[in-house]
């Protein structure tokens, strides 16, 4: 959209967070996506979430596949390394990167083509492997860079810009993630900043695999009447069931919510996930209930959003593989090389 570099001066009204940084320190390059693209709102929400949490902006791994969504890691957290990898293969690259250094926040950005079609296998397997990361899908139901083909998350009967209906059943990544064992599963809407920032904060701080499917309308190819991934459709059909936010240890936050029931889920670091249930008939700790609920509401055309399922005390890949606490990429010869005595006994075992 614009190629004008961002000014570096700080506006005096910008808030300074607990590590002395402003929101600007969490931004990246100027986006080259279309004006109004939902993905830019997701990037903005990531910036806000990381700034509000006061996380060091260079301590992230930003990994993506290929597509419009996968370009976005360049547009936030400019002090962190990013890797725009291969179509559909972000999960494997993220797995390797996360194994190499468990101390960094691992943020995977993918799209619906990237995760529900070419990378569907990798998506399923990173969920079951339980990498400690936040996996976000910018879901617009279409292939933008190749000019508007339907993707696998596009709803049956939803139409293209030219009015042609989609003839195939959609893949629901949220249901899939719950089915395979993700321990933090959410759906949000790029136009609902308040909800999205809270979910990203909670997802980043969840120790284990967190998944957020963000309906993020494509203004160029999938934002018309007849599309079920348009701004208008989402505004009408969104049904938020549980909102979430992260409450740091010993910090009591004022949450700007209306009436409703709140529940704090304690996390291993002593922090809390504060859940606000907006529908008393929803239980975010019951996986099968959640999957059924999504199906039932979906039949009515509603898009259920919020933190749909959470389980806090779980093992992640590092625990499962029983890996040392030191990041693998900082082990040296002392740690890695078994030495000469061991080699002699190894040789002896082959005699």
């Amino acid at each position: 959209m614009t190629f004008v570099a961002k000014p570096t001066a700080r506006h005096p009204s910008l808030k300074i967070n607990e590590i002395g940084l402003t929101r600007r320190d969490y931004e990246g390059s100027v986006s080259t996506l279309c004006a109004g693209c939902g993905h830019d709102s997701v990037s903005a929400a990531i910036v806000s979430a990381c700034a509000e949490l006061g996380l060091p902006p260079h301590k992230f791994l930003k990994i993506s596949g290929i597509g419009c969504s996968s370009k976005t890691p360049n547009y936030f957290l400019g002090h962190s390394h990013g890797f725009n990898s291969v179509h559909g293969r972000m999960p494997s690259v993220a797995t390797g990167a996360s194994l190499a250094n468990k101390e960094l926040y691992c943020l995977g950005i993918s799209g619906d083509g990237d995760s529900a079609s070419i990378g569907f296998g990798q998506f399923a397997h990173i969920v079951r492997r339980r990498i400690n990361m936040l996996y976000i899908v910018d879901n617009n139901g279409t292939y933008g860079l190749t000019k508007g083909q339907f993707s696998a998350t596009n709803d049956l009967g939803s139409t293209s810009k030219r009015g042609v209906p989609n003839l195939y059943e959609p893949i629901d990544l949220v249901s899939m993630a719950m089915q395979i064992g993700a321990t933090f599963v959410a759906r949000s809407f790029s136009g609902d900043k308040r909800q999205l920032v809270g979910l990203i904060k909670a997802g980043l701080m969840h120790r284990g695999f967190s998944f957020i499917d963000v309906i993020s309308p494509c203004v160029a190819f999938n934002n018309h009447n007849g599309s079920t991934k348009s701004f208008a459709h989402m505004r009408n059909m969104q049904r938020e069931v549980v909102s979430a936010d992260y409450v740091a240890p010993q910090v009591e936050m004022q949450i700007d919510y209306a009436a409703g029931e709140t529940e704090d889920v304690t996390m291993p670091d002593g922090a809390h996930l504060r859940l606000r249930k907006l529908h008393s008939d929803y239980d975010p700790h019951d996986r099968l209930h959640a999957i059924n609920y999504l199906g039932e509401r979906g039949r009515e055309g509603e898009v259920v959003t919020g933190l749909l399922y959470v389980k806090s005390d779980t093992e992640n890949t590092h625990d499962i593989l029983n890996l040392v606490d030191t990041p693998l990429n900082s082990l040296d010869e002392e740690d890695l090389c078994p030495g000469l005595d061991a080699l002699e006994s190894i040789n002896q075992s082959f005699r």
């Binding site: 360049n74 725009n84 190499a100 593989l321 606490d325 693998l328 030495g339 190894i346 005699r351």
Partner: protein, 630 residues
């Protein structure tokens, strides 16, 4: 009554024995013990497992070559056959050389009826099943101990030291002591029967030797796994595929032993069985990008699947190590048979213009060394390194020099900038060729709060890692990658050159042979056979791609060169012409010597082909020419 064997006819420590068994019948451990006992007697030996893609029921063979002089490549024709599989009985009998020995279970009626098939061999019937019926009540034990009975009989007939064999039983069943006595008993049944009823020993015999020295006997996959362990690999991502699987399993086993933190019990290595090969290489690249030494091991079909990622790693300049244990292709080809047919696939892996570093180990020791070196090379050159072994080298036990390690050795992590380095710099430019070797400096994620972060992509960028589609920036980058390729030539293992054909007066020999990888096992013997016919060949064993200057010089110095390979298309020959054409390497001087039937290449095969080529040339020269006038 057979005439007694005259002492001068006895052949010590030089024979081939083939065991024909049914897959899954427990024969592998007995046959392995046979080979290992001979090794422990100080005699050079190797065992080749020829097995089907099957878990139970199909035919399998184990071919042991014993050779005092250390010629341990596969040799055609068997001197002794132990025929335990009725299904392959005919072909096994036919595999025997005249005067050879057929050992069979004479309790089986079929074996008796086939006796008439060959009159030029010795038939040694042992009523194995019947002997066991009286000794072991359990049918399962009877089936397993069949193998041990023939082992005992062979020990007697070939004069293998029974104490050595019994020590092997002790080693094998340490901790399962109840199994030792019945194994001893089965060995004694076999040797007792041979002593009491079979009379004279065979013409082929084993006697203690000192030709093994301090060498070890081990397979290439285990060796490569240990090389990766010593070389500092901390991430192994893999997908099961024959014949590479045992490498990942060995790495996992040794990591659990040697990388365990004594206090916490935690492991300093992540081994992940991926959902497919695409994912396995993706994990390796993710880990390499983030500074951990990572590898995958696979075979040809896996390398095919990994091609897209290998192109990304080449272009994005990320260290990665891949072991390709080659098998016969294409497609699933012959999954349990050996070949060297992934040369071109590997060197040019991926779409677009790519050139990948390839290492070609020829022995278990080199599998170990090259595995460790591969991580240094990948880090130094910031690119994938493919180590090409094959099924014969990877899965069979070979006699090898013991593994060595320099206690002072430090891993070469290449050009990685620390936070301090970054603090001292004005500007960090990821893809700028500062040193003129084509290799830029890289940073690892999280290294510095506000310097050194960059965005890695498979799409075009400038020297500062900023996105651009400017033609000149793309070309500059691609040209720099060629500079890096030239740097690689100076770092990879040099070709091993043997000027055996060049005489003491330094008269240049105009004929030579080029070979690589597991062909080495047969090559020394082939050169000796040729030498006995008065054909002296210089020899060069290529150990890596890109080719160093020594390869160019060797080729330039010879008019006629035979390129020996285990594939159909002469892939190394093609590669030499493609890569060294500008140095004058031309197709006319390179002649392919090929064997690709799925078994390891034999010395006889190489000898015959080279000899017939030379004889053909001589006939051609002698032929009277008829000049035609038009």
């Amino acid at each position: 009554m057979k005439p007694a064997i005259k002492p001068k006819d006895i052949i010590y420590n030089d024979f081939v024995i083939r065991f024909a068994n049914v897959n899954g019948s427990g024969s592998a451990s007995a046959n392995g013990m046979f080979a290992h006992a001979i090794f422990r007697m100080g005699v050079p030996v190797t065992g080749r497992n020829i097995f089907p893609s099957n878990i139970q029921g199909l035919p399998t063979w184990f071919e042991v070559r014993v050779n005092e002089r250390g010629h341990l490549g596969r040799r055609d024709g068997a001197d002794i056959v132990v025929a335990m599989n009725a299904e392959t009985y005919v072909q096994d009998v036919d595999a025997l050389l005249p005067g050879g020995y057929l050992v069979f279970d004479s309790s089986k009626p079929m074996a008796r009826t086939l006796r008439a098939r060959r009159s030029d061999i010795h038939h040694i019937g042992i009523p194995i099943a019947n002997l066991l019926v009286h000794e072991f009540a359990d049918a399962k034990q009877r089936a397993l101990f069949k193998n041990i009975v023939y082992l005992g009989a062979l020990a007697e007939l070939l004069e293998i030291d029974m104490d050595v064999l019994k020590h092997m039983v002790d080693d094998q069943y340490r901790g399962k002591d109840a199994l030792i006595a019945p194994n001893y008993h089965a060995l004694d049944i076999g040797s007792g029967y041979a002593r009491d009823y079979l009379g004279e020993h065979l013409r082929f015999r084993v006697r203690p030797s000192d030709q093994v020295g301090n060498r070890i006997i081990v397979d290439g996959n285990t060796s490569a796994a240990l090389g990766a362990l010593y070389g500092g690999a901390s991430v192994c991502a893999w997908y099961p595929i024959t014949p590479s699987t045992s490498m990942a399993e060995a790495f996992e086993k040794y990591a659990a032993q040697h990388r365990k933190d004594p206090d916490s019990g935690q492991i300093k290595a992540a081994v992940v069985q991926a959902e497919d090969e695409l994912s396995a290489i993706g994990m390796v690249i993710g880990a390499g990008w983030n500074g951990a030494r990572a590898f995958t091991c696979t075979s040809g079909p896996g390398v095919s699947l990994m091609n897209e990622f290998l192109g990304l790693a080449y272009f994005a300049e990320i260290p990665a190590v891949l072991f390709d244990i080659q098998r016969a292709g294409p497609s699933t080809g012959m999954p349990t048979r050996t070949q060297q047919s992934d040369i071109l696939l590997s060197v040019y892996a991926s779409h677009g213009d790519t050139k990948q570093i390839v290492l070609l180990p020829s022995s278990p020791k080199e599998c170990f060394d090259f595995a460790a070196d591969a991580f240094d090379l990948a880090d130094r050159l910031q690119t994938p390194v493919l180590v090409l072994s094959d099924l014969d080298l990877g899965m069979n036990d070979h006699l090898s020099e013991p593994f060595e390690w320099d206690a002072e050795r430090r891993y070469d992590r290449g050009k990685v900038l620390s936070a301090d380095d970054l603090d001292r710099m004005d500007q960090f430019s990821r893809y700028l060729d500062v040193d003129g070797d084509g290799i830029g400096y890289r940073t690892l994620p999280g290294a510095h709060p506000d310097k050194g972060a960059f965005f890695t992509r498979g799409t075009s960028r400038d020297e500062h890692a900023a996105y651009t589609e400017a033609p000149e920036a793309y070309i500059r980058n691609m040209e720099r990658l060629l500079v890096k390729w030239d740097t690689a030539k100076t770092l990879v293992p040099k070709a091993e050159i043997d000027q055996r054909g060049t005489d003491a007066n330094a008269n240049a020999n105009d004929m030579g042979v080029i070979y690589y990888g597991s062909t080495e096992a047969a090559m020394g013997e082939a050169l000796e056979l040729l030498s006995e016919r008065g054909i002296q060949l210089d020899a060069m064993r290529i150990r890596a791609v890109p080719f160093g200057d020594e390869v160019v010089r060797f080729i330039a110095a010879h008019e006629t060169l035979f390129v020996v390979e285990q594939n159909r298309d002469g892939q190394m020959r093609q590669l030499l012409i493609a890569e060294l054409g500008e140095h004058g390497v031309a197709s006319q001087s390179l002649h392919s010597i090929l064997y690709y039937g799925g078994l390891a290449i034999s010395a006889g095969e190489i000898y015959e082909q080279i000899l017939s080529w030379i004889e053909e040339q001589m006939r051609e020269r002698m032929r009277p020419r008829v000049l035609k006038f038009s």
